[in-house]
Symmetry: C2
Subunit: 741 residues, 2 copies
């Protein structure tokens, strides 16, 4: 009986258990069961997967990318450029390791070239028309690279053609004040000026010269500024070291405005309206030509006239005189003129961006853009192909994960391989102009890695302050190349640091107050949170402002692999760091943009501004209180939003909540743009470039430099207006962070 009862109980229990199991698992709770997407929308960065991604990054593949990319010169729109287009497309369309989609986009842009049939000529000609000296037309060959017929003759893009002759004068860096001083020392009417790179924009050296009646300008890189004084290719310069050989010439775009010069604010399509070439603003009004320092040496050391000031002296073993104008009476060039025969011509031609995308899984309408230009001046192993090699390895690793079904980012990722950057950030700017609203409304951030590696000392990052945190996080995750026990972050902090009121001693991230690469249209025109990343050399060990082969025919695979990054471990570290930043921006549930760090930068700017300008402005009844209030409001709003984020359970609350917060963070940057009444390529009220390195509000600083400091008061109204514009921009940014309603 007991047995029967037991059996009965056991059976009953078994039935009950079966019932419970069936009831729980077997029957769908129809209306109340969670849809499949509930988990997707709340997913955050998968740190394990990210580690796996980064561990796939291969230095040897980067090296081989670079070798492939630098096989031949690939100046914008040349056959070499087209080869790199095809390479990008092939890689990004690879079925095993490509992206979701890749394609090319063309713009018809205005470029400027030297005439291969009639090379530009610079000569010294005496009074009986005998040529006493001819400037070298091409750089000296040390490897087969320099012998490639596709190496473009050194020239100044956008310099007008022209044939001018005159007495030579030395104008230092060719700044406004340089010409003012020089004009007191020599008769400049009809002269030719020789200037050195640095100190002023390329085009400015000619623009500043023209009002004095100067007919043409030469520009060279002084060994003092780039080579720590080394000048001999017998044993000092490349190929013996990374220093610029005597015949090396920096090429460049000589234009003040970025983007296609004929279609400002409009994408350069075939039928797009073009301004007349003669109306292009900010290009040299007179011929200008860059030359090597071996020729500059011959010219400068023979100059007559008074000795120029100490700050004008460079690295040559002679005195830099102003020029009589012209050469010393004791010189073999006595009474000779310098003649410039410049045959540059402009051409409308198709330049390609190569675009590739990875579709986001949860928020395809949010973009993280990662870009670099593809075109070089010559082989461009460092500029830009170090960045392109890194980008190709990064897309391979991500593409592989994608194709294997292991990973798809929350947000969409767009890769841009920009064309014609060397002619003035043209590809990226046309892209920004063409997709203005779409990009403005949807882009979370833009990451630029152009010169990825120009040294092995430290990571160098310039970006919007809200990105500091994610850059640090990535840098902590990656081991510093060549140092066993240190992270990229630690090495960086050792190399360049500052003390933050909030974080203590941290690496110093720079501000994006320049326009030196393709981040410019993103931050300055679109107002998109941007970052520029590279690995750099130790500036305490050299005065070079950039790696010495920059824009010369020596920026080759040989140069990079021998003198810059043997083994490509630094390229690898940059790839990992950039990759980590990219994946975090694409995958984080809450965007890793920190507005308190932004507030700290604004407070820094404000404090500098108060020290420099407040008394001046009060004296003319312009109050800085509105800016003070705006910055204080911004701080309050940032603190508030962070509190909201901290106190929310975003993984479990409605996905509209995290989207709302992410939109606040994403669009914050847009609020800093000046009202549309102040049209310019530089629309950002905070990060607009200026000529000095004073860390403060750029508009005020400019006017201060031009006006207040000189005691003139004609621009007070402009200053007052700027105070209002900046206050409104900062208040508007604060408004984006406070509760949305």
């Amino acid at each position: 009986m007991i047995k029967k009862v037991l059996i009965g109980l056991l059976c009953g229990a078994a039935m009950l258990t079966a019932g419970i199991l069936i009831g729980h698992y077997g029957i769908d709770k129809s209306s109340s069961s969670a849809p499949a997407w509930v988990r997707d929308v709340s997913r955050d960065v998968d740190e394990g997967l990210l580690e796996e991604i980064l561990s796939e990054v291969d230095n040897v593949r980067i090296q081989e990318n670079l070798r492939e990319l630098t096989k031949m010169p690939h100046m914008a729109t040349t056959a070499g450029d087209e080869q790199t287009v095809q390479l990008m497309l092939k890689r990004w369309q690879d079925p095993e390791s490509g992206l979701d989609q890749a394609w090319r986009e063309e713009h018809m842009v205005y470029l400027s070239f030297p005439d291969p049939e009639r090379p530009n000529k610079v000569t010294v000609v005496n009074s009986s028309n005998t040529v006493l000296h001819t400037v070298r037309e091409k750089e000296k060959a040390y490897t087969p690279d320099q012998m490639d017929p596709a190496v473009v003759q050194p020239y100044a893009a956008y310099s007008p053609a022209g044939h001018v002759q005159g007495k030579l004068v030395y104008a230092n860096y060719g700044t406004v004040s340089d010409y003012i001083l020089l004009n007191q020392k020599a008769d400049l009417k009809g002269a030719i000026a020789i200037t050195r790179y640095g100190g002023a924009g390329r085009a400015d050296k000619a623009i500043n010269a023209a009002p004095y009646g100067i007919l043409g300008v030469l520009v060279y890189t002084d060994p003092f500024d780039i080579n720590d004084g080394f000048t001999s290719d017998a044993n000092e310069t490349y190929p013996h070291s990374w220093y610029m050989p005597p015949s090396g010439v920096e090429r460049g775009a000589f234009a003040s405005n970025y983007g296609d010069q004929l279609t400002p604010y409009l994408a350069a399509k075939e039928e797009t309206y073009r301004i007349p070439v003669k109306d292009i603003p900010g290009v040299p009004p007179i011929p200008i030509q860059p030359i090597g320092f071996e020729d500059a040496y011959v010219l400068i050391c023979e100059l007559g006239g008074e000795q120029s000031p100490q700050t004008w002296q460079g690295g040559f073993n002679c005195t830099y005189n102003f020029g009589g104008p012209g050469f010393r009476p004791s010189s073999g060039f006595k009474d000779s003129n310098v003649t410039m025969d410049i045959f540059n011509y402009g051409e409308l031609t198709n330049s390609s961006n190569v675009m590739g995308v990875i579709r986001g899984s949860v928020e395809p309408d949010r973009y993280v853009i990662y870009g670099n230009h593809r075109d070089s001046w010559v082989h461009g192993a460092i500029d830009p192909s170090s960045g392109t090699s890194v980008m190709l390895e990064l897309t391979r690793v991500l593409g592989k994960m994608l194709k294997q079904g292991k990973w798809r980012p929350r947000r969409s990722i767009i890769f841009g391989s920009w064309g014609a950057e060397e002619f003035g950030l043209i590809g990226s700017t046309e892209y920004a102009e063409q997709y203005f609203t779409k990009l403005s409304e949807r882009t979370v951030a833009y990451i630029n890695v152009d010169i990825a590696v120009q040294g092995n000392a430290s990571l160098q990052a310039s970006g919007i302050p809200s990105l500091q945190n994610v850059v640090f996080k990535a840098a902590k995750q990656v081991k510093a190349p060549g140092v066993d026990s240190m992270s990229v972050y630690e090495k960086w902090k050792q190399y360049s640091n500052r003390t933050s009121p909030l974080h203590g001693l941290i690496p110093r991230m720079g501000h994006l107050t320049g326009a030196g690469s393709d981040y410019a249209p993103f931050i300055h025109y679109l107002g998109i949170t941007s970052l520029d990343l590279s690995y750099t050399f130790d500036r305490s060990k050299t005065k070079a402002r950039i790696y010495p082969a920059y824009h010369t025919a020596y920026d080759t695979f040989h140069y990079s692999s021998k003198f810059v990054d043997p083994g490509f471990y630094t390229h690898q570290a940059v790839t990992k760091t950039a990759g980590s930043i990219l994946v975090r921006l694409a995958d984080s549930l809450v965007l890793p943009l920190n507005c308190s760090d932004y507030a700290e930068s604004l407070e820094d700017y404000l404090n500098s501004a108060l020290i420099m300008y407040e008394d001046y402005l009060l004296a003319v009844n312009i109050s800085m209180e509105p800016i003070k209030r705006a910055v204080a409001n911004f701080r309050k709003a940032a603190t508030h939003l962070e509190q909201v984020i901290r106190s929310a359970d975003l993984a479990n609350e409605t996905p509209m909540k995290v989207r709302k917060i992410n939109d606040q963070l994403m669009l914050l940057e847009r609020a800093f743009l000046m009202p549309p009444a102040f049209p310019s390529q530089y629309r950002h009220a905070i990060w607009t470039p200026v000529e000095t390195t004073i860390q403060s509000f750029p508009g005020l600083r400019d006017i201060y430099l031009k006006d207040i400091s000189s005691g003139k008061v004609s621009l007070w109204d402009k200053v007052h207006q700027l105070v209002s514009v900046m206050s409104q921009a900062i208040e508007g940014a604060a408004n984006m962070l406070f509760d949305v309603i």
Copy 2:
């Protein structure tokens, strides 16, 4: 045994059942059960609840709102204005039927007033300085309303003060061509011109006159243009009908640009930079003063000189001569001058917007804005208080639902009671300038109901074409006032219609190509999808361009309740229509914005443009192909997005999908804004106001009028540039509708 087995089976079955029940209901499916918000995020408009909301709208309450609002004149920043501020705040903060929050926001703006101590004077003075006629200073009183000391003397806001005297001439509407003709008939140097309202902007009548040496301008409303010829207050005009009495004077802002005149593009805060008053663009350079037609009659009918053309003749029973200049030799005014003593002054003063919000439940960061100005010229029963009465009733009904916990919209609703509209849309413009980015990024639509009711014939709507569908849906839901069997929609279609290629015969919704009310900063400056709504009179029965008491001291409760909407049933119908539109925009899962209807309008515009300009442009090698392609792309994109919407199961898919689509629809309008390089208050490439009624692209049309049609070719470059700008804008808009990646 069978019994035992049966019992055992029954027990087992019972246990199984119990188990199933426990398993299904008793145990939470933890990880996989749906969170509470899953249903919220997919909720659509509740049509039953909407019906309940609309059924609450009460005509008598609207009437009482109007009575309260019009107790005294409430010109901007006066004591009467402050009373209406307090009324709005009281209603919107009501614990039973108020909004979530309401507050005032002040701007320090530049207004222009007549001097109560020294009223403006217009007289006829003979050669011995005897005053022969004095223009009436205040309008004649028919009800106590006109006797209120707060009734402002008729004047032209922003007319300069000044004391001028000269021979009178008649200049018709004061257009550019009117003055050209007049200048051929009379010596205008030193003259005073009398003009009639209409045909040109208010300020233009003086701006166009000044170059001829004309010293001052008078302006009046001709009985032909407003009164169907009726002129006598003995039995024809108010108080016997709605027609303007002889002493009635239309006041107005005489300024071409909207917003505070001293702080363009900047919110007018106390410390904001202000341009010098002398630099305000687009205001009269010479004194101008509006007068009643009883005085205009006395002046015009005495004029000498040649008879003016037929199109210049108005409603007076005399011939309108040009003026000799001056009066007929046979007139009692022979040799007399007209003297204007204008004492207007400018003042910086605080104007208030009253703001109220209802927080959205699911997407608080999406705004539907509903607004109307609060300030009037005098009592403003129609302009703007008909709209304000409607808004107050709508907020009461919505507020009640809200406070009772019956309803909370999906998106946030913002109500704006704007200040100082009559002085140039100042309150709304300062708001748009101050919150530029926040509003641009988050606003779904702006609904403006200013003059809610100026007649009983038909609904009248002007708006962005994508709103047509939701306006129709709302209009079908509401019964037409005074017609038993018809909806507002049917009545509207009967009154004004067009044939749509897609929809067949439908009511004609107008385009927002004007800047006559507070929608202007929203559509033209911010690029926000906007709508202007009112009920109007039957234009087949009168030539009046607007209700005849417009901007006079007769726009009173008495006037409205007696001649415009006795019983306030039309006000009620407008409240319901606007309310339905508002709730649908706030509550719909998918935003009710239809981009195919937008495409239809663009195609209309394009077709007109091709007919009018294509041949002209081809002759100078300007192709319209880019616009054609852009419009075709827009159509393709619109069709595609609608296909995406139709084929999706948005209520069950991830809420990120509907948010993505809604962002596409919301931000579409922003893409039509011109690039920031073309700064203006009018940034919209399609709906910018122009002077003609030709339905085509405004920029082209303007240049066509000024240039192409007259055979001049100086502006071809500008035309080409415009074609490029418009193409890029339309392509950019299409890009917003295609798949996001």
